[in-house]
Symmetry: C2
Protein backbone atom coordinates (compact mmCIF):
# COMPACT_ATOMS: atom_id res chain seq x y z
CA UNK A 1 0.00 0.00 0.00
CA UNK A 2 1.31 3.44 -0.93
CA UNK A 3 1.13 5.88 1.96
CA UNK A 4 0.05 9.21 0.52
CA UNK A 5 1.21 12.32 2.38
CA UNK A 6 1.24 16.03 1.61
CA UNK A 7 4.75 15.44 0.18
CA UNK A 8 3.66 13.01 -2.56
CA UNK A 9 4.32 14.62 -5.97
CA UNK A 10 0.74 13.97 -7.11
CA UNK A 11 -2.26 13.87 -4.75
CA UNK A 12 -5.45 12.76 -6.44
CA UNK A 13 -8.77 14.53 -6.08
CA UNK A 14 -12.01 12.72 -5.33
CA UNK A 15 -15.26 14.51 -4.42
CA UNK A 16 -13.54 17.64 -3.04
CA UNK A 17 -11.14 15.69 -0.86
CA UNK A 18 -7.47 15.20 -1.69
CA UNK A 19 -5.17 12.27 -0.89
CA UNK A 20 -2.86 12.86 2.07
CA UNK A 21 -4.84 15.94 3.14
CA UNK A 22 -6.84 16.13 6.37
CA UNK A 23 -10.35 17.53 6.62
CA UNK A 24 -10.08 20.15 9.37
CA UNK A 25 -12.42 22.29 11.42
CA UNK A 26 -12.62 25.83 10.01
CA UNK A 27 -11.87 27.34 13.44
CA UNK A 28 -12.18 26.27 17.04
CA UNK A 29 -15.90 25.91 17.85
CA UNK A 30 -17.16 28.98 19.77
CA UNK A 31 -14.14 31.16 18.89
CA UNK A 32 -16.12 33.17 16.31
CA UNK A 33 -19.48 33.01 14.49
CA UNK A 34 -19.51 30.69 11.43
CA UNK A 35 -21.70 27.90 10.04
CA UNK A 36 -21.16 24.63 8.16
CA UNK A 37 -17.62 25.22 6.88
CA UNK A 38 -14.55 22.96 6.64
CA UNK A 39 -10.88 23.53 5.75
CA UNK A 40 -8.15 21.56 3.98
CA UNK A 41 -4.55 22.78 3.70
CA UNK A 42 -3.53 21.88 0.14
CA UNK A 43 -0.01 23.33 0.20
CA UNK A 44 2.16 24.47 3.10
CA UNK A 45 5.91 23.99 2.86
CA UNK A 46 9.01 25.76 4.21
CA UNK A 47 10.14 26.33 0.58
CA UNK A 48 7.11 28.49 -0.26
CA UNK A 49 5.98 31.73 1.36
CA UNK A 50 2.23 31.28 0.93
CA UNK A 51 -0.23 28.56 1.85
CA UNK A 52 -3.06 27.37 -0.36
CA UNK A 53 -6.15 26.30 1.58
CA UNK A 54 -9.51 24.95 0.43
CA UNK A 55 -12.61 26.01 2.35
CA UNK A 56 -15.99 24.47 1.76
CA UNK A 57 -19.31 25.87 2.95
CA UNK A 58 -22.33 23.56 2.87
CA UNK A 59 -25.53 25.06 1.38
CA UNK A 60 -26.50 27.98 3.64
CA UNK A 61 -23.09 27.97 5.36
CA UNK A 62 -20.99 31.07 6.02
CA UNK A 63 -17.50 32.10 7.09
CA UNK A 64 -16.75 34.55 9.91
CA UNK A 65 -17.24 38.26 9.26
CA UNK A 66 -13.73 39.56 9.96
CA UNK A 67 -10.78 41.61 8.76
CA UNK A 68 -6.97 41.58 9.09
CA UNK A 69 -3.80 43.06 7.72
CA UNK A 70 -3.03 40.12 5.41
CA UNK A 71 -4.51 39.77 1.94
CA UNK A 72 -6.68 36.94 0.58
CA UNK A 73 -6.37 35.77 -3.02
CA UNK A 74 -9.35 33.50 -3.72
CA UNK A 75 -10.54 31.31 -6.59
CA UNK A 76 -14.02 29.77 -6.34
CA UNK A 77 -13.55 26.05 -7.06
CA UNK A 78 -17.12 24.84 -6.56
CA UNK A 79 -20.67 26.12 -6.45
CA UNK A 80 -22.08 29.61 -6.01
CA UNK A 81 -22.69 32.15 -3.32
CA UNK A 82 -22.17 35.72 -2.27
CA UNK A 83 -19.45 37.61 -0.47
CA UNK A 84 -19.39 40.87 1.42
CA UNK A 85 -16.21 42.81 0.69
CA UNK A 86 -15.97 46.20 2.38
CA UNK A 87 -19.38 47.80 1.82
CA UNK A 88 -20.50 45.74 -1.19
CA UNK A 89 -22.15 42.32 -1.60
CA UNK A 90 -20.97 40.44 -4.72
CA UNK A 91 -22.40 37.35 -6.38
CA UNK A 92 -19.68 34.73 -6.90
CA UNK A 93 -19.67 31.70 -9.17
CA UNK A 94 -17.32 28.80 -9.99
CA UNK A 95 -13.82 29.90 -11.07
CA UNK A 96 -14.35 33.60 -10.27
CA UNK A 97 -11.43 35.38 -8.60
CA UNK A 98 -11.88 37.36 -5.38
CA UNK A 99 -9.32 39.78 -3.92
CA UNK A 100 -9.68 40.80 -0.25
CA UNK A 101 -7.45 43.82 0.39
CA UNK A 102 -5.84 44.38 3.83
CA UNK A 103 -8.20 45.52 6.62
CA UNK A 104 -11.35 44.98 4.53
CA UNK A 105 -14.40 43.43 6.23
CA UNK A 106 -15.34 40.21 4.43
CA UNK A 107 -17.62 37.20 4.71
CA UNK A 108 -18.45 34.36 2.31
CA UNK A 109 -21.88 32.71 2.13
CA UNK A 110 -22.99 29.69 0.12
CA UNK A 111 -26.34 29.88 -1.63
CA UNK A 112 -29.15 27.92 0.04
CA UNK A 113 -29.15 25.20 -2.65
CA UNK A 114 -25.45 24.58 -3.43
CA UNK A 115 -22.16 24.35 -1.55
CA UNK A 116 -19.47 26.99 -2.02
CA UNK A 117 -15.86 25.79 -2.17
CA UNK A 118 -12.90 28.09 -2.66
CA UNK A 119 -9.12 28.14 -2.77
CA UNK A 120 -7.49 30.85 -0.65
CA UNK A 121 -3.83 31.88 -0.97
CA UNK A 122 -2.35 33.73 2.03
CA UNK A 123 1.12 34.57 3.32
CA UNK A 124 2.42 31.93 5.75
CA UNK A 125 3.47 34.76 8.10
CA UNK A 126 0.26 36.65 8.80
CA UNK A 127 -1.72 38.38 11.52
CA UNK A 128 -4.83 37.05 13.25
CA UNK A 129 -8.30 38.15 12.08
CA UNK A 130 -10.33 40.57 14.20
CA UNK A 131 -14.11 40.55 14.57
CA UNK A 132 -16.30 43.68 14.35
CA UNK A 133 -17.31 45.29 17.64
CA UNK A 134 -20.92 46.34 18.18
CA UNK A 135 -20.39 49.80 16.76
CA UNK A 136 -18.65 48.48 13.61
CA UNK A 137 -21.36 45.89 13.05
CA UNK A 138 -24.04 48.53 13.46
CA UNK A 139 -22.27 50.81 10.98
CA UNK A 140 -22.18 47.98 8.41
CA UNK A 141 -25.86 47.12 8.83
CA UNK A 142 -27.12 50.67 8.21
CA UNK A 143 -26.96 49.55 4.56
CA UNK A 144 -30.10 47.38 4.06
CA UNK A 145 -28.32 45.16 1.49
CA UNK A 146 -25.59 44.38 4.01
CA UNK A 147 -28.17 43.92 6.78
CA UNK A 148 -30.00 41.37 4.58
CA UNK A 149 -26.71 39.60 3.80
CA UNK A 150 -25.78 39.35 7.51
CA UNK A 151 -29.30 38.50 8.72
CA UNK A 152 -28.51 35.21 10.51
CA UNK B 1 -18.93 50.97 -18.38
CA UNK B 2 -17.07 49.42 -15.49
CA UNK B 3 -13.36 49.08 -16.16
CA UNK B 4 -12.27 45.75 -14.72
CA UNK B 5 -8.65 45.51 -13.59
CA UNK B 6 -6.66 43.00 -11.56
CA UNK B 7 -7.58 45.13 -8.51
CA UNK B 8 -11.36 44.66 -8.80
CA UNK B 9 -12.61 42.71 -5.77
CA UNK B 10 -14.37 40.15 -8.00
CA UNK B 11 -13.16 39.18 -11.47
CA UNK B 12 -15.58 36.93 -13.32
CA UNK B 13 -14.59 33.77 -15.15
CA UNK B 14 -15.74 32.94 -18.66
CA UNK B 15 -14.34 30.05 -20.72
CA UNK B 16 -10.97 29.98 -18.91
CA UNK B 17 -10.39 33.71 -19.21
CA UNK B 18 -10.80 36.13 -16.32
CA UNK B 19 -11.91 39.77 -16.38
CA UNK B 20 -9.07 42.28 -16.09
CA UNK B 21 -6.48 39.56 -16.76
CA UNK B 22 -4.31 39.48 -19.89
CA UNK B 23 -3.68 36.36 -21.95
CA UNK B 24 0.12 36.18 -22.15
CA UNK B 25 2.72 34.20 -24.04
CA UNK B 26 4.10 31.37 -21.89
CA UNK B 27 7.70 32.46 -22.58
CA UNK B 28 9.50 34.45 -25.24
CA UNK B 29 9.31 32.48 -28.50
CA UNK B 30 12.60 30.63 -29.15
CA UNK B 31 13.88 31.02 -25.57
CA UNK B 32 13.15 27.36 -24.71
CA UNK B 33 11.25 24.38 -26.19
CA UNK B 34 7.47 24.42 -25.54
CA UNK B 35 4.26 23.96 -27.53
CA UNK B 36 0.76 25.48 -27.52
CA UNK B 37 0.74 26.97 -24.01
CA UNK B 38 -0.54 30.31 -22.65
CA UNK B 39 -0.27 32.08 -19.30
CA UNK B 40 -2.50 34.36 -17.20
CA UNK B 41 -1.36 35.97 -13.94
CA UNK B 42 -4.37 35.67 -11.65
CA UNK B 43 -2.85 37.25 -8.53
CA UNK B 44 0.32 39.29 -8.07
CA UNK B 45 0.36 42.04 -5.47
CA UNK B 46 2.96 43.68 -3.21
CA UNK B 47 0.91 42.55 -0.16
CA UNK B 48 1.35 38.86 -0.95
CA UNK B 49 4.56 36.85 -1.26
CA UNK B 50 3.42 34.38 -3.92
CA UNK B 51 1.88 34.69 -7.35
CA UNK B 52 -0.92 32.53 -8.68
CA UNK B 53 -0.70 31.89 -12.41
CA UNK B 54 -2.93 29.89 -14.78
CA UNK B 55 -1.25 27.98 -17.60
CA UNK B 56 -3.21 26.33 -20.35
CA UNK B 57 -1.87 23.76 -22.80
CA UNK B 58 -3.92 23.03 -25.90
CA UNK B 59 -4.42 19.31 -26.72
CA UNK B 60 -0.94 17.90 -27.42
CA UNK B 61 0.77 20.96 -25.92
CA UNK B 62 3.65 20.85 -23.45
CA UNK B 63 5.61 23.09 -21.10
CA UNK B 64 9.41 23.37 -21.05
CA UNK B 65 11.40 20.55 -19.46
CA UNK B 66 13.29 22.49 -16.78
CA UNK B 67 14.24 22.77 -13.11
CA UNK B 68 15.00 25.52 -10.59
CA UNK B 69 15.47 26.21 -6.91
CA UNK B 70 11.91 27.49 -6.35
CA UNK B 71 8.99 25.19 -5.67
CA UNK B 72 5.78 24.81 -7.69
CA UNK B 73 2.43 24.17 -5.98
CA UNK B 74 -0.02 23.17 -8.71
CA UNK B 75 -3.76 22.42 -8.93
CA UNK B 76 -5.12 21.08 -12.22
CA UNK B 77 -8.10 23.28 -13.08
CA UNK B 78 -9.08 21.78 -16.44
CA UNK B 79 -8.62 18.63 -18.49
CA UNK B 80 -6.13 15.81 -18.25
CA UNK B 81 -2.54 15.03 -19.08
CA UNK B 82 0.74 13.74 -17.75
CA UNK B 83 3.69 15.25 -15.98
CA UNK B 84 7.27 14.19 -15.58
CA UNK B 85 8.52 14.89 -12.05
CA UNK B 86 12.09 13.76 -11.38
CA UNK B 87 12.28 10.26 -12.83
CA UNK B 88 8.56 9.41 -12.85
CA UNK B 89 5.72 10.13 -15.28
CA UNK B 90 2.37 10.70 -13.52
CA UNK B 91 -1.15 10.85 -14.96
CA UNK B 92 -2.93 14.03 -13.85
CA UNK B 93 -6.62 14.86 -13.88
CA UNK B 94 -8.85 17.81 -13.00
CA UNK B 95 -8.39 19.12 -9.42
CA UNK B 96 -5.37 16.88 -8.65
CA UNK B 97 -2.53 18.54 -6.71
CA UNK B 98 1.06 18.45 -7.95
CA UNK B 99 4.12 19.40 -5.88
CA UNK B 100 7.38 20.13 -7.71
CA UNK B 101 10.22 20.13 -5.18
CA UNK B 102 13.30 22.38 -5.67
CA UNK B 103 15.74 21.28 -8.41
CA UNK B 104 13.43 18.57 -9.75
CA UNK B 105 13.16 18.13 -13.54
CA UNK B 106 9.55 18.62 -14.61
CA UNK B 107 7.38 18.97 -17.68
CA UNK B 108 3.59 19.04 -18.18
CA UNK B 109 1.86 17.60 -21.24
CA UNK B 110 -1.81 17.77 -22.24
CA UNK B 111 -3.40 14.60 -23.59
CA UNK B 112 -3.95 14.57 -27.36
CA UNK B 113 -7.73 15.02 -27.04
CA UNK B 114 -8.19 17.58 -24.24
CA UNK B 115 -6.54 20.77 -23.01
CA UNK B 116 -4.69 20.83 -19.69
CA UNK B 117 -5.11 23.95 -17.55
CA UNK B 118 -3.46 24.40 -14.16
CA UNK B 119 -2.99 26.90 -11.37
CA UNK B 120 0.62 27.33 -10.21
CA UNK B 121 1.60 29.07 -6.97
CA UNK B 122 5.23 30.29 -6.75
CA UNK B 123 7.21 32.70 -4.61
CA UNK B 124 7.34 36.20 -6.15
CA UNK B 125 11.10 36.25 -5.46
CA UNK B 126 12.44 33.25 -7.33
CA UNK B 127 15.30 32.03 -9.51
CA UNK B 128 15.18 31.45 -13.26
CA UNK B 129 14.63 27.94 -14.64
CA UNK B 130 17.51 26.04 -16.22
CA UNK B 131 17.23 23.62 -19.15
CA UNK B 132 18.88 20.19 -19.24
CA UNK B 133 22.20 19.96 -21.08
CA UNK B 134 22.78 17.10 -23.54
CA UNK B 135 24.21 14.79 -20.90
CA UNK B 136 21.30 15.41 -18.48
CA UNK B 137 18.75 14.86 -21.23
CA UNK B 138 20.47 11.63 -22.25
CA UNK B 139 20.49 10.43 -18.62
CA UNK B 140 16.74 11.06 -18.36
CA UNK B 141 15.95 9.24 -21.61
CA UNK B 142 17.73 6.02 -20.64
CA UNK B 143 14.37 5.22 -19.00
CA UNK B 144 12.09 4.14 -21.90
CA UNK B 145 8.99 5.56 -20.18
CA UNK B 146 10.64 8.99 -19.93
CA UNK B 147 11.95 8.68 -23.51
CA UNK B 148 8.38 8.00 -24.69
CA UNK B 149 7.07 10.96 -22.67
CA UNK B 150 9.68 13.33 -24.16
CA UNK B 151 9.47 11.94 -27.69
CA UNK B 152 8.60 15.18 -29.52
Amino acid sequence: MTVVTAKNPVRCFDAFRWEGTDLLAYKEEGSAPFKAITRQTLFRDPAIKCELRYFELAPGGYSTLERHEHMHAVLILRGRGECLIGDTVYKIDTNDLVTIEPWTWHQFRANADVPLGFLCMVNVDRDKPVLPNGEQREALTTDPRIAAFLKD
